[in-house]
């Protein structure tokens, strides 16, 4: 990417005491979501949770910490593959916080994994800068936070919103629970979105309103071209609701989180980062068959839909209710 070395110099000057990740995998359980929150909030920094592994594709550490990490890793055999978990372990022990840059400065290559991670599927960045020109002052446009900003919702635990296998759900990181961080048993949004102040019926109603407004009273949609099939029952329209719910909950979450307001940001650049964060969410979050059925045009329609959902969710007032949807 253009200006890579110059960016590193700037980043070190801004955050000389922290671990800085240049890449976060697009479907890591919590940290990818942190990156998406940062992208939506307009923050160039995404504080990472150390309850999850620290992404190590590109990681910069203060000299002392790097030496300390080396010493820490020597306790483990070379055959131990999940070194990223050991980095998280070290950071916790050393009191070192970790942040990711938004956009990322690195992209994962495709092809066989040299570390034996092929079973993880395709590995891509959450928000890669690519060839985009990162505006001057981007990195300093937002105060440096070392931990995820506080949320004003009832749920007392960290959580992320995820889109996996064409389904939206909540991933809750309970303190006392010893659940593996990457477990697949998320909490479906229809029942449990109220935990984070959202009303599932309002979410669905908002999609209906958007669709009605866009298509003049008809619920026909771009993703349901078949006339033989009821538009509302078209399987891809169920995907639309899941994508909409994910974007809505992300927007609501950002609006109820104490992200400091950015200053001096380039609106077009910020919008491009947000859209890329949503695009990778959708690409990594659809089942293969849904992705194929969508095609490129359908995918971009889903990105626009998700973007609108984020805006809709950000406008919403969180409800301090229980779990019922009424």
């Amino acid at each position: 990417m253009p200006g890579f070395a110059a960016h590193l110099t700037t980043l070190v000057a801004l955050r000389e005491k922290e671990a800085i990740a240049f890449y976060v995998n697009w479907n890591s359980p919590h940290n990818a979501y942190h990156v998406r929150c940062a992208a939506v909030a307009g923050s160039p920094w995404a504080p990472l949770t150390l309850r999850e592994w620290v992404p190590t594709l590109g990681l910069m550490l203060p000299t002392e910490a790097a030496l300390g990490l080396g010493k820490h890793l020597r306790k483990y055999p070379d055959s131990f593959r999940d070194e990223d978990e050991l980095v998280a372990e070290y950071c916790q022990t050393a009191g070192l916080s970790a942040v990711a840059v938004v956009p990322h400065l690195l992209e994962h290559c495709t092809g066989p994994s040299v570390a034996g991670n092929d079973a993880h599927g395709e590995r891509k960045a959450t928000v890669f800068a690519g060839e985009a020109h990162i505006p001057g002052g981007h990195w300093s446009a937002h105060p440096c936070m070392s931990s995820f900003p506080s949320r004003s919702v009832t749920l007392p635990y960290p959580f992320s919103v995820e889109l996996v296998a064409s389904r939206c759900g909540l991933r809750i990181l309970r303190d006392q629970s010893r659940e593996p961080v990457e477990h697949p048993f998320n909490w479906g949004w229809r029942d449990w979105a109220p935990l984070i102040g959202a009303n599932p019926r309002r979410i669905a109603a908002a999609l209906r309103e958007r669709t009605t407004a866009a298509f003049g009273g008809s619920h026909a949609e771009l993703l349901a071209p078949s006339k033989e099939q009821s538009d509302a029952d078209h399987p891809l329209n169920r995907v639309r609701l899941e994508v909409w719910a994910a974007g809505y909950l992300l927007g609501l979450d950002v609006s109820t989180t104490a992200w400091p307001p950015p200053h001096g940001e380039d609106p077009a650049f910020a919008a491009s980062l947000r859209d890329e964060a949503l695009r990778t969410w959708i690409i990594s979050g659809l089942t293969q068959s849904d992705a194929l059925a969508c095609g490129t045009g359908g995918l971009e329609e889903l990105v626009r839909l998700c973007s609108d959902a984020v805006v809709c969710g950000r406008r919403e007032s969180p409800q301090r209710t229980g779990v019922r949807s009424e």
């Binding site: 749920l155 759900g169 593996p180 048993f185 479906g188 509302a232 169920r238 949807s325």
Partner: protein, 217 residues
């Protein structure tokens, strides 16, 4: 103030709700990757045989949960869940299946949803109720008691209980497959609660489940 069968029915339903809350909030230190073979029954045509898993109508593989699930895993070795065609379960709702796999990896796991169990129980005559009658707490009580028994394997599941019968009921609410714009409420007995007494009990259930989950979380 409720009393008699109404109170008993509510208490049973609250117990089922607490059981689901316990299932949803359970957390094993390690969780197996999970795939489930799904036996789908068309709604309205569930017979007692289907409910017992004897005559599966349509099977397919669902829930490849976990990064490492091998695509070539043999379906016949997978846990089997019998559900109605219109039923949808959240990922979290199949957590008990994963727990069973951890406990009894050497045994075949066969489960059915409450809706399937209910269809099985009501496929024949129900004492004190004609097919066209609405439900009453009185006529529901024996069914609720039986459902409670069938899902009492959770959470303790001592060995004799599990091995006593090949079929267990998954102690979770499900919902109807909704259309593109609708969010149907979860139902403790599955999607077909077109009955005022059942609908009222469902409210009790969801309220109790919410409270129990929030208390545990």
């Amino acid at each position: 103030m409720k009393s008699g069968p109404a109170l008993l029915a509510e208490n049973l339903v609250r117990g089922m709700a607490r059981r689901e809350a316990s299932a949803l909030t359970s957390a094993a230190e390690r969780l197996p990757d999970l795939a489930i073979r799904n036996v789908v029954c068309p709604c309205g045509s569930v017979t007692a045989e289907i409910a017992e898993g004897i005559d599966p109508v349509r099977t397919g593989r669902i829930w490849d949960l976990g990064t490492y699930t091998r695509p070539d895993a043999l379906d016949h070795g997978l846990p089997v869940l019998t559900k109605l065609a219109c039923e949808v379960l959240d990922n979290r709702s199949v957590l008990p299946v994963a727990e069973i796999l951890l406990r009894y990896s050497d045994r075949p796991v066969r489960l059915r949803t409450r809706a399937v169990a209910m269809w099985g129980m009501t496929a024949g005559p129900v004492p004190g109720r004609r097919a066209e009658d609405s439900w009453s707490e009185q006529t529901l009580l024996p069914l609720l008691r039986r459902l409670n028994d069938e899902e009492a394997w959770w959470p303790a599941a001592p060995d004799p209980l599990w091995t006593g019968s090949p079929h267990r009921t998954l102690p979770v609410a499900t919902r109807a497959m909704s259309s593109a714009f609708d969010v149907d409420e979860a139902s403790f007995l599955g999607p077909h609660l077109d009955d005022p007494v059942l609908a009222e009990l469902n409210k009790v259930y969801l309220h109790a489940r919410r409270d129990a989950v929030l208390r545990i979380l």
